[in-house]
């Protein structure tokens, strides 16, 4: 016991000391991993490690040196078991001090005037660099190992370390940005406190006006809310229709219906909007046909809430379908059978039994549709025209001529308020109201078919909508090969060549305009995917298998971060990571961090579901056979979780490629992402290339998903998945 306690402590102490004497304390502009800084390490004062910086006038680092020294002293003087509390104290004070000094002293000295008045001038400091970050990690692990030596969580240092680091990461990448955004609303450009921006925006009629009730224009908040209600209602009804057709009719193409649901997942969000423009826009195909046939002038009706609504219906109906099909299938057939034996015909059964049982599922689908619509950025950006929604208004508040961060922050908070309310409603109001439970008992019987008067309209609607969806996707494929949409419909490869041309001049030259952003996107998506999966599954494991205080709060906070719209994340990341102590804007790191923490909740949810199916005694067996938590994770849990790992990898990869809302704030000239680039093309009216690029992205995603499938492979357990559940029929010892 003793030796292990000491060994891991030695490791982090050595790392902390190394960081203090041999790594640059502050951030290096040219990047740490480029290693261009190494030759100048001694000559350039900016690159000095923490120890030298402290001796060179950065007195704020002295307490850190003292604390690390104290930790080393503790390690040498005291035995394990007697130093736990002191270790925790050192770790906590270390973190607290670094937080305080990092936030208090900025690039040009004190960040707050009050401190300057109290303590006089201080020289400024850049953002934390490699050395500082390693020491932060060291302090965090000191807390974990100290707690382990005190016997917390059965003394499991791995678990405690994982929990501590996760909490630290979530605090930095989820909560710190939100707090920064909030405080950003109360700051002038020079950082001083003001309520002027908030006061101006909070009563702004452009946000809050209810004029449309009297025939005028409504504020953007109400418009967005109204749109979200419409989209949620529409997608829920359509999703229900699809779910009923797929499970309770003799409809012949049920399998293909399910296939359609995959499409929107791999479609960048604005592509639907783009295709709609080509179909129904001013010079759209359908528009032309109608105008020629009737002679009406259709004009720009698509641009505005109507167009956004249609695009969102196309994008989010499959999600509602996925939610509802689970509910529809989950209703025990015996309920309906019971109703039928009680003298009710199919129509009465459907009205009195099936629909009421579906109600909680419908509410759930509605809330999800509401959140998705609120958070949608791509479609409103393409189709919004002059009347935007909250997410696009936030964007234009920062990038446009307004450049009013306070306004962006206020709008973001309004948006956040709407989505979080929906999330909380979903979480608290719907919990425990789900009737569609899977009991595990074999439930004989089949779902009854829909009554005729429902089946016919439902099938008709489903087929019509599916046809519309297929048309829209056909536009996407076709549009890439047409010269100028709406004017010159001759076929051409021109767009593909301009986007993805490859020249030959002493080796391959990537001449296409898309290559640059394409490779960046691939690189970042491929880096983010495994990280997301790892963090998500580790979190899931902690939540399911470890019983630590504050676990439910931790889980709740993580799940809540899923309800934060991408636009809000984007704006909050800019406000948080543009200045010391953590400065990351314009780097690849901020993109990766954004993807990891934005997509992690889905990995967590999948991991939790998969892990709850694994018998807990498998972990315990491994532990009692002498394997530590780390080994148990590696040898037992991970191999059994392969399907969940695959799902998390695929999801985070796809999301990293398709997402636009947060990304558009975070891209830079050096790290431009495909979606942001395509949106740029659309804004310039270069639809051809934009569409060509989007189709290539969809193809690449399909290919890479297949690749992941091969790479991860299946878990090799023949015949049965897990344990013999108690009470299951026992194999006779026939082959003994």
């Amino acid at each position: 016991m003793t030796s292990r306690d000491n060994r891991r402590l030695d490791l982090i102490l050595a790392a902390s000391l190394f960081a203090l004497v041999a790594l640059p304390w502050y951030r290096i502009r040219s990047g740490f991993f480029g290693l261009e800084w190494v030759p100048d390490f001694f000559s350039s004062e900016k690159l000095w490690p923490g120890l030298l910086q402290a001796l060179n006038g950065k007195w704020q680092l002295l307490p850190i040196l003292v604390l690390v020294a104290a930790a080393v002293g503790l390690r040498v003087m005291r035995k394990p078991g007697t130093r736990g509390a002191a270790m925790i104290a050192i770790g906590v004070s270390g973190l607290a001090w670094m937080l305080a000094e990092g936030l208090a002293i900025g690039l040009r000295g004190w960040n707050w005037g009050l401190l300057e008045a109290l303590f006089g001038d201080v020289s400024g400091q850049p953002a934390f660099g490699a050395g500082a970050l390693m020491v932060v990690t060291g302090f965090a692990l000191m807390i974990a190992f100290g707690a382990a030596e005190r016997g917390a969580l059965k003394g499991d240092a791995f678990v405690l370390g994982a929990i501590t680091l996760l909490i630290l990461l979530v605090a930095v990448f989820v909560f710190y940005p939100l707090v920064s955004m909030f405080s950003g609303a109360f700051q002038e450009f020079d950082g001083s406190f003001t309520t002027e921006g908030v006061r101006r925006n909070i009563v702004d009629p452009k946000i809050w006006s209810l004029g449309c009730l009297a025939g005028g224009n409504c504020g953007v908040a109400w418009r967005t809310f109204f749109l979200a209600i419409c989209t949620a209602t529409g997608t829920t009804l359509l999703g229900l229709v699809f779910a009923l057709v797929a499970t309770r009719t003799g409809f012949r193409f049920k399998k293909s219906l399910r296939l359609l649901t995959v499409l929107p997942i791999i479609t960048p969000p604005f592509v639907i909007g783009l295709a709609l423009t080509m179909l129904l826009g001013r010079s759209g195909t359908l528009t032309n046909v109608i105008e020629v046939a009737t002679g009406w002038e259709l004009g720009r009706w698509l641009y505005g809430l109507t167009g956004i609504w249609i695009a969102q219906m196309l994008s989010f109906t499959p999600i509602a379908f996925l939610v509802l099909i689970g509910v529809v299938e989950g209703i025990s057939p015996s309920m309906e059978e019971a109703s039928q034996t009680l003298r009710s015909d199919r129509w009465r059964t459907f009205r009195k039994v099936t629909l009421p049982l579906l109600a909680p599922g419908l509410a759930n689908a509605f809330l999800i549709g509401f959140i998705e619509s609120m958070a949608d950025f791509g479609n409103p950006l393409v189709l919004g025209g002059s009347g935007g929604v909250l997410s696009t208004e936030i964007f234009f508040a920062v990038v446009g001529a307004q450049n009013d961060p306070a306004r962006a922050a206020i709008l973001a908070m309004v948006l956040l308020f709407f989505t979080l309310s929906a999330f909380l409603a979903q979480r608290f109001w719907l919990t425990g109201r789900n009737f569609a439970t899977v009991t595990g008992k074999g439930d004989g019987g089949r779902h009854i078919s829909l009554p005729k008067r429902v089946a016919w309209p439902a099938t008709t609607i489903a087929v019509a909508w599916a046809a519309f969806t297929i048309t829209v996707y056909a536009m996407i494929v076709f549009g890439g090969f047409v010269k100028v949409w709406g004017l010159d419909h001759s076929l051409t490869f021109e767009h593909y060549i301009r986007a993805f041309g490859i020249g030959w001049d002493e080796g391959i030259r990537w001449t296409g305009v898309a290559w640059d952003s394409f490779w960046t996107t691939m690189e970042i998506a491929l880096l983010a995917a495994p990280l997301t999966a790892a963090v998500g599954l580790l979190t899931a494991w902690l939540i399911v298998r470890q019983n630590f205080p504050g676990r439910s709060v931790f889980e709740f906070a993580l799940m809540m971060s899923f309800a934060i719209p991408g636009t809000v994340i984007g704006i909050s990341y800019i406000m948080a990571f543009n200045l010391p102590p953590l400065q990351m804007t314009g780097t690849a790191v901020i993109l990766i961090a954004c993807f990891v923490f934005r997509n992690m909740p889905v990995g967590v949810r999948g991991g939790v579901a998969a892990m709850s199916q694994l018998d807990g005694s498998l972990d315990e067996a491994s532990l009692s056979l002498g394997a530590g938590s780390g080994r148990t994770m590696r040898k037992v849990i991970l191999p059994l979780l392969r399907p969940a790992i695959l799902a998390a990898l695929v999801y985070s990869f796809v999301r990293a490629i398709t997402s636009i809302s947060a990304v558009i704030f975070l891209v830079s000239a050096k790290y431009n992402m495909a979606t942001a680039y395509i949106v740029g093309l659309v804004e310039n009216g270069e639809y051809g290339i934009a569409i060509a690029y989007s189709s290539v992205l969809i193809l690449v995603m399909i290919t890479v998903i297949g690749g992941f499938q091969l790479l991860v492979g299946d878990r090799r357990i023949r015949r049965r998945e897990e344990r013999v559940s108690p009470g299951s029929p026992i194999n006779k010892e026939a082959n003994a």
Binding site: M1, E620, S624, L625, I717, E722, A734
Partner: protein
């Protein structure tokens, strides 16, 4: 104080889960080389006790010692015990050999050596040559033996078994419990065995610890528990005794004269004072006779079960359950019978009623 390898000691252990206290102040000594059963109805705390010994739960208070070392704060992976799980918990993605070698490799043994030792362990439980199979390809009984081999191969000080037979069918259960007992006596390791089946406990144990509501109700050898239950709970739980009202007429040293339904007979007094008393009456303690001397009773129901006959009989002390394994004539309901007190299966319960 140093204790020999394999000794287990619980000192004033308490375990709470939030508001609920699963174990109240448990103290227990287990001698090396013994097979000790923790027996009790579900929710009595027996599995919690076992899991605390394994290191899968930590006690809220008190200390646990294994082989004289305090292991209270030691995590499961560093305790010299290993466990056979109720569900077996065989790793479904590893074959049988890898499962058995798993703990050895975790302990730093080289894979080659570990594999050899695993094969030896499989030989020991009679599964030679099945190392290449996946757990799913074995029958329930074979899986159970793999679980035992996987735990035993580590040569732990204490082997823990959590209801190891509950997933087996009745016939197999009898064979496997004999095998486990035989293995334990041959290799001489300490074993702690959790079960809720009193017959299983009687069959395999050196010592049985009966638990109820988080406290120890009685500790003793199977014979002591059966023949001299300390409480009505034990009398009922071990062997489903009839507990009836009787009267102690007088006590002379260790011998009490007991009156039941008008018949007097001597019994060990067990500290019971003269006056009303409670009596544990095994189903074979009374002989059912169609006529003659004895306690009068009426047959309420009867059933023929091949090698014996079961009766429910209404006597002066209420309805009792009696087995007659001597005669094969079935007396119909309503028959007036006489019950003769035998010299076995009957004991005074010392607990105040």
């Amino acid at each position: 104080m140093t204790q020999p390898r394999g000794a287990v000691e619980f000192r004033n252990v308490r375990k709470s889960f939030g508001e609920f206290t699963a174990i109240h102040d448990l103290s227990l000594d287990i001698a090396p080389g013994q097979l000790v059963t923790l027996l009790g109805p579900s929710g009595c705390g027996k599995t919690t006790t076992l899991r605390m010994l394994a290191g899968l739960e930590s006690p809220s208070e008190g200390r646990i010692l294994i082989g004289g070392d305090d292991v209270t704060r030691l995590p499961a992976d560093r305790r010299d015990v290993s466990m056979v799980f109720q569900s077996y918990a065989l790793f479904p993605h590893m074959n049988v050999g890898q499962n058995v070698a798993y703990g050895l490799e975790a302990g730093g043994l080289r894979p080659k050596e570990a594999r050899k030792r695993a094969e030896d362990a499989l030989d020991l439980v009679g599964l030679s040559g099945l190392g290449g199979r996946l757990p799913a390809e074995l029958s329930g009984g074979q899986q159970q033996r793999v679980a035992v081999a996987r735990a035993l191969v580590l040569e732990p000080q204490v082997l823990l078994l959590d209801e190891p037979l509950s997933n087996l069918d009745a016939r197999l259960r009898r064979k496997v419990r004999t095998d486990i007992r035989e293995l334990q006596q041959r290799l001489g390791f300490t074993a702690v065995y959790v079960t809720h089946d009193q017959e299983e406990a009687l069959a395999v144990s050196d010592t049985i610890v009966v638990m109820k509501d988080g406290v120890i109700a009685q500790i003793g050898s199977p014979r002591e528990l059966y023949e001299a239950p300390a409480s009505e709970f034990i009398a009922d739980f071990i062997g489903e005794a009839n507990v009836v009202d009787a009267r102690v007429l007088d006590v002379d040293g260790d011998v009490a004269r007991v009156e039941l339904g008008g018949v007097a007979f001597p019994l060990p007094s067990r500290g019971v004072a003269p006056g009303p008393a409670r009596l544990s009456l095994r189903s074979n303690a009374l002989k059912v006779k169609a006529d003659g001397e004895g306690i009068p009773g009426t047959v309420a129901s009867s059933a023929y079960l091949g090698d014996h006959v079961e009766y429910e009989i209404d006597g002066p002390f209420g309805r009792i359950f009696v087995i007659d394994d001597e005669s094969d004539t079935l007396l119909p309901s309503g028959t007036e019978v006489a019950l003769e007190v035998r010299s076995r299966g009957i004991a005074l319960i010392p607990e105040a009623a």
